[in-house]
């Protein structure tokens, strides 16, 4: 029988399972160990996205292209909204790219925990992988549509300035924003399914609160840095600066980065807290 036996004390447990604590920090080492799984989930989402569609990855282009068309007609044409001296189609498309990266990532990461509940209730892995893979998979769409932007820039004779080297940082900032918000919403969505219905609505409102169809320069200079409280404002203006050479929005970006850091850190703690009760409430 297996009681009353000598236990070798040199043996160190590989794992201790204990009742949940209120606030748990993220175990980045463990997250790193599971990087292959993160890639597997991301690859799965990319593969199944356009399965059984006739147009396949063309959809990644069609959506922003049509939005750009509509914006150009309505906001550029009828409403005569200024565009910092840049042709309106280019002006709006350069904003739509990071915007769609953000909104797709936000939608997918918010849904990720509930949509994958059949897996999460059957096997352990760091749950953070789910929302992270949610923000990573839209990168493929982003890569496809950025080729369109390059073609458009060539058409309008725009040569990017040296600032283009900062572009990856703004992509990162867009991803971090969608993860920060996605962590909160995915965790809240586990408990309150209301959040999955609010996401399309949030995204729509947020888009008009971001300088997608209008430039940030429409706001008075004095309060423009406050606009950075919306991190996507920093991202979009940063994109335009890096690619199209508009005015540098440095104060806005600084505020945006701070907001994103707060969102990410708080989101991670909240997510980790929810994660422990996940299987009992999902």
């Amino acid at each position: 029988m297996f009681d009353n036996e000598v236990d070798d004390s040199k043996n160190i447990p590989t794992l201790i399972i204990k009742p949940p604590k209120k606030w748990v920090p993220v175990d980045f080492q463990e997250l790193w160990n599971y990087r292959e799984l993160l890639l597997s989930f991301t690859r799965r989402d990319i593969k199944i996205r356009y399965k059984q569609t006739a147009l396949g990855f063309l959809w990644a282009i069609i959506q922003p292209l049509f939005m750009m068309l509509i914006f150009t007609i309505i906001f550029g044409g009828f409403a005569k909204i200024p565009s910092d001296g840049i042709p309106y189609p280019l002006f709006s498309f350069a904003a739509l790219l990071p915007w769609m990266l953000f909104s797709e990532g936000l939608t997918r990461s918010t849904m990720s925990m509930v949509a994958n509940s059949n897996i999460i209730t059957k096997v352990y892995f760091p749950r953070l992988i789910m929302p992270i893979s949610g923000i990573l998979s839209p990168l493929v769409d982003f890569a496809v549509s950025i080729t369109i932007l390059i073609l458009m820039m060539a058409y309008y004779g725009f040569v990017p300035t040296i600032n283009v080297i900062f572009l990856p940082l703004f992509i990162l900032l867009a991803l971090a924003t969608s993860l920060g918000v996605g962590l909160w919403l995915s965790a809240l969505n586990v408990k309150y399914r209301d959040f999955q219905y609010t996401v399309p609505f949030i995204i729509q409102l947020w888009m008009y609160a971001s300088p997608v169809v209008y430039p940030a320069s429409m706001l008075p200079q004095s309060i423009r840095f406050l606009y950075g409280l919306n991190p996507m404002a920093g991202v979009i203006e940063g994109f335009r600066w890096a690619l199209l050479g508009t005015a540098v929005p440095s104060s806005m970006i600084f505020v945006s980065v701070c907001v994103v850091v707060v969102l990410l850190v708080s989101g991670m703690f909240y997510f980790r807290r929810m994660e422990q009760y996940y299987a009992d409430i999902v």
């Binding site: 447990p13 009742p19 799984l37 309150y192």
Partner: protein
């Protein structure tokens, strides 16, 4: 001899919350409404909630190389224990120390996606189960061969037959090589030949000296595979020791239950009404289980409310959704067909032992009048299990394949 410990479970308890607040999904509206109703409640700590202890102060140790069978009735806490050990849910109290890599197999086909091909699913499911990409690559051919799906490896699994799907799913899981393996009743998949293969694979795993925790209702599998066993009931550890002792205790503890029975209301509109159907082993009033070696008795009570000409009672036996055999009571007594006086009747059916094979059987009963039609119909009204715990049938074709088992075989060496 000192043995190394693989799992140490110390005073483990798990409480599930019950009551209104957890019964339905939380909606944000509820929170807001509650907030408006009683704004001050937010600042008070929540009242202690009614709870249900799925596990209560469970402690045990598992040594390296042990194959532990966990038995208990449905709802006893077996799955909760496995869920805590595999870190899907957290305990409320207590602690578990685990020494070694854990792989858990709580379901066959975790993470399979219908749109992906067999190949893609092997890699996806493998990595979800905690295997490294390199590890999966090494075992890839073996997995495909085990699942017998070589030709369809690049076909989306949504086009697979259910048998192929399950075989592939099990094959991936069976090739996990963690030091500790947690398995929840997943062997009951696929056809007979594949089940046999799965049991064989489990046997191999047990031989390799890996630590296995194995939840099952299949007592035959427990006694064949496990070298030690744990009995859980009502969230508490009742017994740990040899599988045969644990199984005996388990069967005794479930013995107070009556034979399986179902009652129906007497419908005044019907001239014949089935009142009850009952099934059980002959000659034992203690056991709930019916074993292969038991004669099975079926008792059907019905009410005939007026004198009727031409009546029959139909009884059908289904196994795995297929009607295996059926008969009418008038097959055995032609007089009943001519005239049936009003009154209460009991129909007793005796099925000899070693006839119905292992697994779930379903009874259908109806009462009717030839030429007129069915009057009272209770189809698929009663399910019962034919079980086996006394025989080692791990490598037997009987353990899942054929429908009936009316065989007596002797090998005589001359």
């Amino acid at each position: 001899m000192t043995q190394k410990i693989a799992i140490r479970v110390n005073n483990l308890s798990k409480k599930y919350r019950l009551g209104r607040s957890e019964e339905k999904y939380h909606t944000f509206r509820d929170v807001i409404v509650n907030l408006l109703k009683a704004p001050l409640n937010v600042f008070q700590s929540a009242p202690p909630e009614e709870g249900f202890w799925a596990l209560k102060e469970v402690s045990f140790n598992v040594h390296k190389g042990d194959v532990v069978g966990i038995i208990g009735r449905n709802g006893a806490g077996k799955s909760t224990l496995l869920k805590i050990l595999s870190r899907i849910t957290t305990p409320t109290e207590g602690e578990v120390a685990i020494y070694g890599r854990v792989g858990s197999l709580l379901e066959v086909g975790t993470g399979f996606h219908p749109e992906l091909t067999g190949r893609e699913n092997i890699f996806l499911s493998g990595s979800i189960l905690g295997m490294r990409k390199r590890e999966i690559e090494e075992k890839f051919d073996e997995i495909v061969k085990f699942a017998e799906i070589e030709k369809f490896i690049d076909t989306p699994v949504k086009r697979y037959s259910s048998g192929m799907y399950v075989r592939l799913a099990f094959a991936v899981a069976a090739h996990m090589d963690t030091e500790i393996l947690l398995v929840d009743e997943v062997l009951a998949v696929g056809d007979a030949a594949f089940q046999k293969k799965c049991m064989g694979k489990m046997g191999d795993v047990a031989q390799e000296g890996r630590t296995v925790l194995f939840v099952s209702h299949n007592m035959g599998a427990i006694s064949a595979l496990c070298n030690t066993s744990i009995l859980i009931s009502d969230g508490k550890l009742r017994f740990k020791g040899s599988p045969s002792d644990a199984i005996d205790l388990y069967l005794q503890s479930t013995g107070q239950e009556n034979e399986k029975q179902i009652m129906f209301n007497d419908d005044p509109r019907k001239e014949i009404c089935i009142l009850s159907v009952q099934v059980g082993p002959v000659g034992s009033n203690r056991k709930e289980t019916i074993e292969l070696d038991d004669d099975v008795e079926l008792t059907i009570k019905y009410n005939v409310k007026r004198d009727l000409q031409g009546t029959n009672i139909y009884v059908g036996f289904d196994h795995k959704g297929v009607n295996i055999f059926n008969f009418w009571d008038i097959d055995y007594d032609k007089n009943l067909f001519l005239m049936r006086n009003r009154g209460l009747y009991t129909l007793k059916v005796l099925v000899p032992n070693n006839f119905l094979n292992l697994g779930q059987w379903t009874i259908s009963v109806d009462a009717g009048r030839p030429g007129i039609g069915t009057i009272d119909k209770q189809h698929h009204c009663l399910h019962f299990l034919i079980e086996n715990y006394s025989k080692d049938m791990t490598n037997s074709g009987l353990s899942g394949g054929s429908v009936i088992a009316p065989i007596s075989v002797q090998t005589i060496s001359e």
